[in-house]
Symmetry: C2
Subunit: 206 residues, 2 copies
């Protein structure tokens, strides 16, 4: 009787597992046809994800490729990345940041790191934050255009956060965790904000 029940339920269970595990909605770079304008205007912060789903590694690599296509002052490219997909590591990362509970349901997290000589004055100091921000924005747009949800969790320049995440990742001195980007399949249907405000535009002079 038990066996019969199992045989009856097995296909249903397999289907249910696939529903949560299989990335039926995720698109590769080749498949992702969302226009740049649509991606920019409809991107939104996603903080709740379908639990247990996985993001294929080639999709994560493509998202990192978008990150590395960011502009960089004097072509310095100060970036590297840690990608976390293991459930236990995501949980531990969530515990290391005061506002990262969304990592508990995320399928992955990208942590863009900057390698900079923070003691150096002048140009390098002035622009690496801007490079890393463009990297983060590219990653958010790329993920959104592929059907994934993501959110920009701030790390730098809040000292306690930089310290906690550096310790968690065992980073060498001079390598700074810049932000955390939880990634996953959105659990709900969010509404992007319309932030256009014509009064912020000054034609020809302020």
């Amino acid at each position: 009787m038990k066996k019969a029940l199992f045989l009856l339920l097995a296909p249903l269970m397999a289907f249910a597992a696939c529903q949560s595990k299989c990335p039926e909605n995720v698109k590769t770079t080749q498949e992702a046809k969302m226009s740049a304008e649509e991606a920019i205007l409809t991107r939104l912060s996603v903080r709740s994800f379908k639990e247990g789903a996985e993001i294929p590694q080639n999709v994560l690599t493509d998202i990192l490729k978008a990150g590395m296509a960011a502009p960089s002052a004097m072509d310095r490219r100060p970036w590297s990345f840690v990608v976390i997909t293991q459930k236990e590591r995501l949980k531990a990362l969530a515990a290391a940041h005061p506002h990262a509970k969304m990592l508990l349901s995320a399928s992955a997290a990208i942590i863009p790191l900057a390698t900079v000589d923070l003691s150096q004055p002048g140009m390098e100091k002035a622009f690496w934050i801007q490079d890393m921000s463009a990297v983060t924005e590219n990653i958010l747009l790329s993920a959104h255009s592929k059907g994934l949800g993501a959110v920009w969790v701030g790390v730098y320049s809040v000292d306690e956060r930089v310290k906690a995440i550096s310790e968690f990742l065992e980073l060498p001195a001079g390598t700074v965790p810049f932000s955390i980007i939880p990634l996953g399949y959105p659990a709900g249907q969010g509404e992007p904000k319309d932030k256009f405000d014509e009064s912020r535009i000054h034609w020809e002079k302020f």
Copy 2:
């Protein structure tokens, strides 16, 4: 004889004028179909533009709309914009920055401004630079997807540049010129850099 020559040449001259003045390549948001991935991966710094060309005001407004769609920490939206299209003003702006000669051939320039209380410690101070960087990147991607060329000219946090541009724009205290984005029709065909470097990716741990 002079009049006959003029009648003969007028249509040719009108055609030539249109060739340089009419934005035959620019696309509105509705027309721009470049995918987000393509825009991110093929965006490049354009520093040489077709002189005398104009960018329709609705296209500039759509590019600013993309800028204002940037993520913003705690939804502060610290941004506003000056848009310059007058030739004389572009020339004067070029003279106010040590690396902005490309403005001499540009059709327009967008200067994203941040309104922040720079004396305030903590969160606001930590994240407005990142907000403004995401704004700048969105503007670059939007312009590229519409067939325009653009480049990120750094202003903040180089003190002399901030001072010179603030004076040029007659900005009140607390309003900071963040970057300058010259815009125009690319004079040549540039090659985007392939900056993907797999060795920068660390799976699970650094």
